[in-house]
Structure formats: structure tokens, C-alpha cells
């Protein structure tokens, strides 16, 4: 247990050293705004990927409406700062909470559905959110809403660390094990005394909360938000991060979010090519690594592996 705590603090320290270096580069203007912006965008995408990973990878609920929660977080936080004059931090939290509440309202009825049906229900929800914002003049309708630039490297990195710590801690506890057991075999989980509905909804709400936070960061990074940014293609982008990384692997979601954000950022001038490359990458991964980049492993497993082999294992790897 002590060893686990130490690796935890070690990774936190490592993360903040990384943060410090980047922050230094930004403040000394060695990193130009384009790269800074890419880094922020990577943070946002990782938050989205990791939050969806909790729902799909850990709990096994195939939700493809994550852009809906992103949109809610974006619009609510934008309303808070632009219309109500609240500080950015309050707006971020408000965006997260409203998205989480929406997750609760949508989750309770729709998580009774399974597989394809749940996918369709969540997709429908995301479209409803988009259409609602499209038709509200208060938030600018189709023309969109102007938002000040408030997202910095510091805020996005803090949110990212918070997301990863919360979701990793949730996963590595009796609650996370309950969620994984639902993914593995819902009937057996139920028979073992797990309240499956409760945990499905809990995972969904936590995932929605962080998608809402990501929405707040997103809105305050791009000067303008429009409903068209939150269509179902956005949901699929996030889904691709999770599937490509390997369903059930948090580090896989992080790695693939970084990888694909870099690819798509450098192909921004040619959006059509971007989608072709996306598709090609997906096809290639599914052909050569159907379990995703990381499978269900975590990066830490590779370190743990050596220790385990030394300890001797009857059945081998």
C-alpha cells in the first residue's frame, strides 16, 4: 500500500515538473501561441477521452452522446462569464455541475437500455442539446456566441490532473471494481449484490461532469462557440480516442488523445484529409491491434510486470 502511495505522489510530482517546464517556456515566449494552443487543446481532448473512458471502457456502457455534455458545459460556462459576469473558475464548475445533472436525468432512464439502444438514445440526447442551443437566440442561435479567451495552460492542466486523479482513484476502488464487473457480466454483477443501475448512473454522471468541465475550457479557448461544433461527429471524435487507445485503458485514452490531436491539428488546413487519415488510422488499428493501442493494460502495468515475473507466477503472463 505504501508503495502505491509513493508511485502516486511520484507521478503527481512528475506531472507538475512537466507543467513547470511548459509554463516556463510559455512565459519566456519560447513556445509560440500556436503550440500553446495545441497543448491546451490536447488537455481538453484528454479530459474528454478519459471521462468517456469511464463510461465506455470501465462500465461498458456504449454512450455516443458525449458531445452533448461538452456542449452543455461550453454554453453554461459561457453564459456564466459573458452574460452573468461570473469569474471563469465559477463558470467552469457550473458547467460541470449542469452537465452532471443532465447526465443524471438522461442516465436514469436510458441506462436501462443496452448496447445499440443505449447508443442511439445517447446520440439522440446529444442532438437534442445541439438543436436546443441552435434555437435559443439568447445564446446566439446558429451564429454562435462570442466568448472571451480565458483558458490558460495552467487552468487546463489543473483540470486535466484533477480529471485523471479522480477517475483513476474511482477506478481503483471497490466502486471501480463494481463498474468493471458490470462491463464483464452484468447478470453476475447483479447476482453478487452490486446495484448495477446505481453504478452505471454514477459512472455516467462523473463522466458527464468532466465533459462539462472540458466544455468550459473549450468555450473559453476558441473565442466563439457554435452549435455546429457539437454535432455527432464531435461525439465520434471522442469515441475514437477511447476505442483507439484500447477499451478499458486510461493511459490508452490519454495516449490516443494526444496522438490524434497532434495529427488533426497539423492537418487543420485540410479538414477532408483529416477525416480520411482518421478513418485510415482507425482501420489500421482495428486490423493490426483490434484491442486498441494499449488493450486493457495501463502504462504502470509495464513497470509492475517486471516485479511480477520476478515474484514467480504459476501460469506465466
Amino acid at each position: 500500500m505504501l508503495k502505491k502511495v509513493n508511485t502516486f505522489w511520484f507521478s503527481i510530482v512528475l506531472a507538475f515538473v512537466f507543467y513547470g517546464i511548459i509554463q516556463l517556456l510559455i512565459s519566456t515566449a519560447m513556445l509560440n501561441p500556436f503550440y500553446t494552443n495545441t497543448l491546451i487543446f490536447i488537455c481538453i481532448n484528454i479530459i474528454l477521452a478519459v471521462s468517456l473512458h469511464l463510461v465506455i471502457g470501465i462500465t461498458g456502457q456504449f454512450s455516443i452522446g458525449h458531445a452533448g455534455f461538452l456542449a452543455l458545459g461550453a454554453y453554461i460556462s459561457a453564459i456564466m462569464t459573458m452574460k452573468l459576469g461570473m469569474p471563469f473558475s465559477v463558470a467552469l464548475i457550473a458547467g460541470g455541475i449542469v452537465a452532471a445533472l443532465a447526465g443524471l436525468v438522461v442516465g436514469v432512464p436510458s441506462l436501462r437500455l443496452r448496447g445499440d439502444y443505449l447508443a442511439i438514445a445517447t446520440l439522440g440526447f446529444a442532438e437534442i442539446i445541439r438543436i436546443i442551443f441552435l434555437n435559443i437566440d439568447y445564446v446566439g442561435g446558429a451564429a454562435g456566441m462570442q466568448v472571451t479567451h480565458a483558458t490558460t495552460w495552467t487552468t487546463s492542466f489543473l483540470c486535466l490532473i484533477l480529471t485523471i486523479v479522480v477517475i483513476a482513484n474511482f477506478t481503483n476502488s471497490r466502486h471501480g471494481r463494481a463498474c468493471i464487473s458490470i462491463r464483464e457480466n452484468e447478470i453476475a454483477a447483479d447476482a453478487m449484490g452490486i446495484n448495477t443501475t446505481y453504478y452505471k448512473v454514477a459512472a455516467f454522471v462523473i463522466g458527464s461532469f468532466f465533459a462539462g468541465i472540458a466544455g468550459g475550457l473549450y468555450a473559453h479557448n476558441f473565442y466563439i462557440i457554435q452549435p455546429v461544433n457539437f454535432g455527432f461527429l464531435k461525439s465520434f471524435d471522442i469515441l475514437i480516442f477511447v476505442v483507439l487507445g484500447g477499451l478499458g485503458s486510461l493511459s490508452g485514452a490519454v495516449v490516443s488523445a494526444i496522438l490524434l490531436t497532434i495529427v488533426s491539428t497539423f492537418l487543420q488546413g485540410l479538414p477532408e484529409t483529416r477525416m480520411i487519415i482518421y478513418s485510415l488510422v482507425l482501420v489500421m488499428v482495428m486490423l493490426y491491434r483490434p484491442q486498441g493501442l494499449m488493450g486493457t493494460r495501463e502504462i504502470t502495468d509495464y513497470f509492475g510486470k517486471w516485479g511480477r515475473v520476478k515474484g514467480g507466477n504459476q501460469y506465466g503472463g
Binding site: M1, R177, I180, A188, A189, M192
Partner: protein, 262 residues
């Protein structure tokens, strides 16, 4: 026999649309008993298990467990009341380790909240450590502690069966329902299983209800046997009584044979 049954099933039935899968099923289980439930394929044995564990809600009749009505309760609530089960086709949490499979069954015995886990409060560590220690001790009883870090799907079939029984017991039941525990086992494994069942019955003070096709096993360890056919209870009694019951022979071998036999 003790005076009070632990489980009382009276006139329970369920229909799916027009099909009566089980009708008028009666069963009384007294503490410490080991009862067999047999019948030809499609007789409704697993349906009875599903009724008892809350997977299905009976359309008629009443099930009481420790004097508490349990029909219509959600499966996880039934488990928390003290009825635990295994499945006909093994249903382990394949991608989870052997240890985690057992820990999941301990889930409702721990009490640290989601928030205490997220913020890694003292409660979380205490709760998790307790679960871990308990689960390891538990695996030792079933000689599975050596493979505790192995994924459940990588275990040999016999050990998977054993793990499933271990997991069901970790949930802390008073009544254990075993659905064809010997399915797919060779005679040696079946013999080991019979020993295991007798052992856990003593060790955990269990009442056991068992579905099985292996007659040697059923006749060997069960004190009483109920026979189902086409959703109806056709016979009840000691292994010997059941073995010679004309209706049972008819259900298994057909009517013709009975008349020839007579």
C-alpha cells in the same frame, strides 16, 4: 428436522406470454439441508433459480426467505438478504483478476463511499485493506491464492468453477444455489466437487439447493430431491423414493418404457 424453514416457496409460477414455464411450484428448505432439483432439459429448473434470485418476478405465488417476502426484489437485494448463486454456464468477470472477482462479491460488506475513494480518505484505505485481506484468506480456503493475480478467464475450467463457487460464498449467503456445478467435469473433478460441496456446507453453515444432471452426484449427496417436468413438480422425496417414482421414470425415459418395465 428443525421447525422453521429458511426458504418457503408456495404455489410459485411464471408465464412468458402464453407459456407457463413454471406453475404451482412448492419447496420448503430447512436450515442446513442439501436439496437437489432435477428434471429433464427444459423442465424449468433454471427458471426456478431465476425466480428465487429475483431475475424473474413470479406471476403467481409467494417466496419467503427467513420470514421475509422476497418475490419481486431486485437480484442484488436478494443477494444482500443472503441468497447467492452460481450459473449454469460459468459467469466470471473474465478480465478481472481472481482476487478482484472475490472482492466484487465483498462489495456490499464494505462501506467506504465513492467520495472517500476519490479523495483517498483514510476510510478508503482501511476499507480496501480489509477487503484485500479477507479476500486473500478466502481464496486460501479454495486453494486459489496462488493464482490470485491471474485473469479469471485464464484459469482452467475446473478452477473457474471453483472460483465461481468461492465468489458466491464471499457474498456471505445463508442459502447457496448451485446451477449444474458439475457440468462439463470429468468423474475425478466431479468427485472433488462433491467433497468441496460437503466441505463448504460444514464450514459456512450453509443450506444448499442444487440443480444437477449428474445423477451420481445428486443421489450421492442430496438428502431430498424435487423433480420438475414441464414446469410442474412431479415428485419429491429421498433419493431412493425419487428413483423409483413411476412419474420420474416416465419423465426421463418415456411412458412406453414404464409399461414395459411394469
Amino acid at each position: 428436522m428443525e421447525a422453521k424453514p429458511i426458504l418457503n416457496v408456495s404455489q410459485v409460477g411464471i408465464s412468458f406470454g402464453g407459456l407457463k414455464a413454471v406453475a404451482g411450484f412448492n419447496l420448503e428448505l430447512y436450515p442446513g439441508e442439501l436439496i437437489g432439483l432435477i428434471g429433464p432439459n427444459g423442465a424449468g429448473k433454471t427458471t426456478v433459480f431465476n425466480l428465487l434470485t429475483g431475475v424473474y418476478t413470479p406471476t403467481e405465488g409467494e417466496i419467503t426467505f427467513n420470514d421475509e417476502r422476497i418475490n419481486g426484489l431486485a437480484p442484488y437485494k436478494v443477494t444482500r438478504k443472503g441468497i447467492s448463486r452460481t450459473f449454469q454456464n460459468v459467469r466470471l468477470f473474465n478480465e478481472q483478476s481472481v482476487l478482484d472477482n472475490v472482492k466484487v462479491a465483498y462489495h456490499s460488506l464494505a462501506s467506504h463511499s465513492i467520495l472517500s475513494s476519490i479523495f483517498r480518505l483514510q476510510k478508503h484505505f482501511i476499507g480496501e485493506q480489509e477487503m484485500e485481506a479477507k479476500a486473500i484468506d478466502f481464496l486460501k480456503i479454495f486453494q486459489l491464492d496462488k493464482v490470485k493475480d491471474e485473469k479469471a478467464k485464464n484459469l482452467p475450467y475446473g478452477e473457474q468453477r471453483r472460483l465461481e463457487i468461492a465468489r458466491a460464498l464471499a457474498a456471505g449467503p445463508e442459502l447457496l444455489l448451485l446451477d449444474e456445478p458439475a457440468a462439463g467435469m470429468n468423474p475425478k473433478e466431479t468427485k472433488e466437487l462433491m467433497e468441496l460441496i460437503s466441505f463448504i456446507r460444514e464450514q459456512f453453515n450453509l443450506t444448499i439447493l442444487l440443480i444437477e444432471h449428474d445423477m451420481k452426484l445428486v443421489m450421492g449427496i442430496c438428502e431430498r430431491i424435487s423433480v420438475l417436468d414441464h414446469g410442474l413438480l412431479i415428485a419429491e422425496g429421498t433419493p431412493n423414493e425419487v428413483r423409483n417414482h413411476p412419474k420420474v421414470i416416465e419423465a426421463y425415459l418415456g411412458e412406453e418404457v414404464v409399461s414395459n418395465h411394469a
